[in-house]
Structure formats: structure tokens, C-alpha cells
Symmetry: C2
Subunit: 351 residues, 2 copies
């Protein structure tokens, strides 16, 4: 593995002190956001929110639970660690501004491995114009643990909650669904083949879109910007990290509503359909329950429909109903099924 | 151990889903800060800073590296996890406002164990009037990993950096030093005795002050308030997490100055002196290099001296000099020694 400490040319992390290590890893990061007044180097970073609402969210990623370094390159992991947090700010209809990054790694990680991780993290910071303003790098007993906190901001009247959808509003999703989950299945399969036959050369080309969705997801800040441009104020919003089904149920429960979600409307990429067949899975099930797509799911008023109609980035997939009707899937044949959350549970993962 | 999953009455964490688990653990937390508009339950928390400067800092604590559950009760660990972060906001002369808490634990931890941890964390939140507004609870492959991020705020003209000390200013420290380190030595010794003889009943009473300094440290928000009341604006400030020597060097380097630190002025509790002797250690060395006291170290203008003179919470321990003179310790006998940072390095810890 690239990141293990077997190479004589590699540098043990312990050769640097804790301060020198953080200084070394973060030296390429420059503050670009006018609200970031002081970054790394004091007891706390100093920021100034330009808008009335400050936003904060945090996520922890654990090796062997949330990611597998067997097929997740460290650069991509760094990028994704930033993206999954930035996505939470987008889900509030806000703009991300700062990040903090804490990392615990065992002694098997080299300095070069950490550099790859920080490099990917820096690429995400640059892409989303977010500043790294704090963090911690320490040792773990086993594996790698990543904790990221993101700050963002929004104008008070733009901030969008999960709880403010209303009856009859339209349910809209960005992009397409199921790709990231199938990308993971493809990578898992290749890993198993590789373990049996290390000479095997995988051909991932047909699965390029799926693998990219898994390894290098993007937060839909472009959708936040698009909605502003279209002058559409979403009434409620959430990002799809755990699967469409689970997130629709969250929106319904938080807004005390039901919904009708039309199977035929769910946006699914052709590669997801063909690869689902290859894996003997139903594409709708993959789109409903596969997580990590980081698309945005939101509701809009009926009167806003003309503003989004025909936009290739946005698909109306259903509408909100009274709570008593529950969250329902309307199949292609017109049958109704209650949506079920296959909520991902970190404590039930096998390792 | 109290926190292991051996008891039939205990509850496995995996019996609850991830959302239900977080909901259960955080249900006792109420928002009390007017700046905390929305707490846990949406994609991000929504906050409003009342002052111009927002502050953010983060810390990661790893079992076996930063703490030992063999003698650290989980309630205390929860309290301390909040305190060490709050201390960073105090070190900017700010007031803490919100916290996020992410926790990764292996399957050996029961729900009851996590409840104890959150209980301690809640006590710190209540004591410092800080709101828990976000977090994550997930599984780890080994042990417990805690990541806390703290937000705070300060008026622009009050925010205090490490870099703004000036030549001839007075170096001041709050409280007394070395206690937390000796508390750790006492607990380590008891643990070793216990391993040899499990029937052994430890008598920690003579070491009560030291053990409390280690297990239940406090952030010196009271000092931030005291300085405001005394109308003293510190010119530079840092908290003492790694030992006085290391922090004095940070202040000097960041302010591009030297300093003279007088051994005889360093505030040391009588219990630290007697217990240092028992451990055959020099009390000055313990005060200079023992960490985790979380006292504040700061500089003030000479003209502010009358305002703090005689205050039992504050001790002038030296003064700043030109950079060329370096950071020096002036011993009781008048000799000069360069201060040395025995900077704690997580990657060099034995386990």
C-alpha cells in the first residue's frame, strides 16, 4: 500500500514534532475568504461572518467503518472529507466559508501519506473557496480517524431548514442517484478479485462515472447558486448522504407531512441501470437506498415550478401530502408502498 | 471496568440506530445561549454571533494517547473534553458560545457508558453556559476517539493574540502550575499498584488537589471576566496545555521577543512541592514542563500592574525582553538558563 511505512525513502511522522507536523502539512493553505481574519497558528481562528446566520456542521470518518484505504486513494479521501461537510452547508442553502480538520493516524502512516491526504483536502478548499482555519494531527492506536467541522453562512431569509415544507409543495432532487453506491460495489468486487489474484488488472473504464461518484463526490454548491439565480427559495432542504428514501422520510417527519414519490421520476444515470442489472439489483432500490450521492433534496412552492422546469440539473420527483398519508412510493404500475429508511448504522457494520 | 459490555443489564450501542442514538444522548441538552438559533437536528446548526469576532478551535483526544480509561472516569472525560476546548477560547480573551462533539467508540462501549460521557459533557456546557449544537456518534475499530470543536466570540478590540506582546511588558500567569501533571503521576502509580494487587485500596486523599487538577480541570473563563472587570486588556495570551516552558516560548516566538522568567515567582501549590519530593522530582521542573493545567499565560503593559497587584489569582512571573536575549529562566541563585520546550509529541508516546 502506498501509504504504509515500508519504503526507506519514506518519512516517519514521529520525526517531526506535533507543531512542526501541522505547520508542514498546512503550509500550502492560504486564506482566501474575506471573513477568515486569522487562520491556523493561535489558540483559535478568528472569523467574521458577513451574513446574519452562521452555520456549523461536523462529521467523523473512521477507517474500516466509513472508508477502505484498499481502494480509496488518500488524495481522494482528503477531498471527500471536505466535500461531505461542505454538502451539509449547501443543504441549508448556505455558502461554506471555513473548515477545521483533525486527523488521528497510526504509526504505519508516513509523512508522504499525510501529504497526499492534505493535498486532496486543499484541492477541495480551493474548489469551494473555503479556508482551512484550524485542526489537530495526532496519533491513533489503529487506523485513520478524520474529523472535519465546517462553517458557513447564509442570509436569514435564505437559510433553509428540514422542517418548513408545506402540503402540496413539489419535491425536487438535483443530479442523479445511486451512482456512488454502485461505485462502491464495483470497487469492493475489484478488491476481492485482487485478493485472489494480485496480477489481475482491473478494467474500471466502463464504471468510470460510478467510481468517480464514490471516490470524488461533489457538494452541490452550484445548485445553491442556481436556485439563487432562478430566484427560487426552497422551502425545505436536506442533502442525500444516506439514500433518497431515508432523506425523504427525514423531510416528511421534520415538516410533519407525508409525500408521494414517483418511481418513474427518480433520475437514474444509464450506467446505474446497466450496472444494477450486472449486480442483479433493482435500479430503483439502488437509487432509493444507496447513499453518498450528496445530491440536494428540497421542496418548492407549486408557483415556482415554471422557474425550474426543463432545467437538466433538477427533477421534480413528487409532492408533499398530509402527514396521515405517510411517505409513499408510487410505482410505475401505480401501486403505493410506504417508503422505508434503510438508515445506515455505523455500529452494525462488519469489518 | 464500568464501561465495558459485560453486564447483562447493559445496553449494546448497536441496538439503537445512529439517529436514535444521537437523539437519546443529546436529549438533555437545552439551548441557553441567545446566539444559538438552531441546535442539533438539521444538516447544520444555525448561530448568530453578537460580537464582531467569531472564534473557532478544535481538539482531538484519543484513548491510549491522551487519556487512559483505567483511571479516567467517563463523566470526568466528558467534562474535560469540553473544558480543554473552552480553554482555547479563553486564551483569545473570548467567551465560548457553542460546541460540537464527535465520538467514535468500539463495540465494547455500552449505551450507559456513553451516557456517562455525555453527562459530564453536559455538566461542562451548563457550567460555562455553552450550547452543544452538533456532532456525530459512530463506531471505531479500537477504543474511543473524541473530537470537539468550540465556537466563541469577542469584541474586536478585546481579542488577544499570541503575537502582540511588546518589550518590557509583564508576563503573568493565573492559578498555580504542575498540579495536573503530578495528579497523572499519582494515578499512574495507583494503576500499577492495582495491577499487581487488585485488593489494594488506594488512599488518594492526600493528593486530592492534584487528582482533581488532572481529572476535572477548569477553563479560566473567570480570569477573562476578572480582567474585564479590572479593565486590563492583555496584550498577548495563550493557555497552558503543554507546560509553562513551551507556552512561554510560543509567546516569545509569535511576538518576536525574548523574556526573563523568574523561578522564584512561579506559583506552585504546597501539595505540588511535597508530592514532587515524594516522586523525586524538582517542583520547578514539574511546573515548567508538566502540562494540562489550563491556566492562562499573558502579558500586560507595565502601567496595568497596579490593577492586578495583590490579586490572589494572578502572579507576575517575569517580563518580555528583546528577541536577541532569548527566553530565559532566572534561577533562585540568579543564574540564567535558556527555557526549553519539552513539547508533547503524540507520535512519540508509548502505549
Amino acid at each position: 500500500m502506498e501509504w504504509e511505512n515500508k519504503d526507506r525513502q519514506s518519512t516517519a511522522v514521529s520525526t517531526l514534532g506535533e507543531f512542526a507536523l501541522i505547520e508542514h502539512l498546512t503550509k500550502g493553505f492560504e486564506l482566501q475568504n474575506p471573513g477568515s481574519l486569522v487562520g491556523i497558528g493561535d489558540d483559535a481562528a478568528v472569523i467574521h461572518f458577513q451574513k446574519e446566520h452562521g452555520l456549523i456542521s461536523t462529521d467523523m470518518l473512521v477507517e474500516g467503518v466509513h472508508f477502505d484505504l484498499g481502494y480509496m486513494p488518500l488524495t481522494h479521501l482528503g477531498y471527500k472529507s471536505a466535500v461531505v461537510n461542505i454538502s451539509d452547508i449547501c443543504a441549508m442553502n448556505g455558502r461554506p466559508t471555513q473548515l477545521t480538520l483533525s486527523l488521528a493516524v497510526s504509526n504505519r502512516f508516513t509523512l508522504e501519506a499525510l501529504e497526499h491526504f492534505y493535498d486532496g483536502f486543499a484541492k477541495a478548499c480551493a474548489h469551494y473557496k473555503v479556508d482551512l482555519v484550524g485542526g489537530d494531527t495526532t496519533s491513533s492506536n489503529k487506523g485513520m480517524i478524520i474529523s472535519v467541522t465546517v462553517l458557513g453562512e447564509a442570509e436569514k431569509e435564505k437559510t433553509t431548514y428540514r422542517s418548513k415544507a408545506a402540503d402540496n409543495e413539489l419535491l425536487v432532487v438535483s443530479g442523479d442517484l445511486g451512482g456512488a453506491y454502485l461505485g462502491l460495489q464495483v470497487l469492493e468486487r475489484e478488491k476481492q478479485v485482487f485478493q485472489v489474484n494480485p496480477q489481475h488488472q482491473p478494467d474500471l473504464e466502463p464504471y468510470h462515472y460510478l467510481v468517480e461518484r464514490q471516490l470524488k463526490p461533489e457538494a452541490r454548491l452550484d445548485i445553491v447558486e442556481l436556485l439563487e439565480k432562478l430566484e427560487v427559495q426552497p422551502t425545505a432542504m436536506i442533502d442525500i448522504s444516506d439514500g433518497l428514501s431515508s432523506e425523504v422520510i427525514h423531510l416528511c417527519q421534520n415538516s410533519q407531512l407525508g409525500c408521494q414519490l414517483y418511481e418513474e421520476k427518480i433520475p437514474i444515470d444509464p450506467t446505474v441501470i446497466s450496472t444494477s442489472e450486472e449486480f442483479k439489483m433493482d435500479p430503483t432500490t439502488v437509487a432509493l437506498n444507496g447513499g453518498e450521492d450528496y445530491e440536494l433534496l428540497f421542496t418548492i412552492k407549486q408557483e415556482d415550478f415554471p422557474k425550474i422546469k426543463g432545467n437538466p440539473n433538477l427533477t421534480v420527483i413528487g409532492h408533499m401530502t398530509e402527514a396521515s398519508r405517510g411517505a409513499q412510493l408510487v410505482t410505475r404500475s401505480g401501486e403505493l408502498f410506504p417508503l422505508q429508511a434503510q438508515g445506515w448504522n455505523a455500529f452494525n457494520q462488519e469489518d
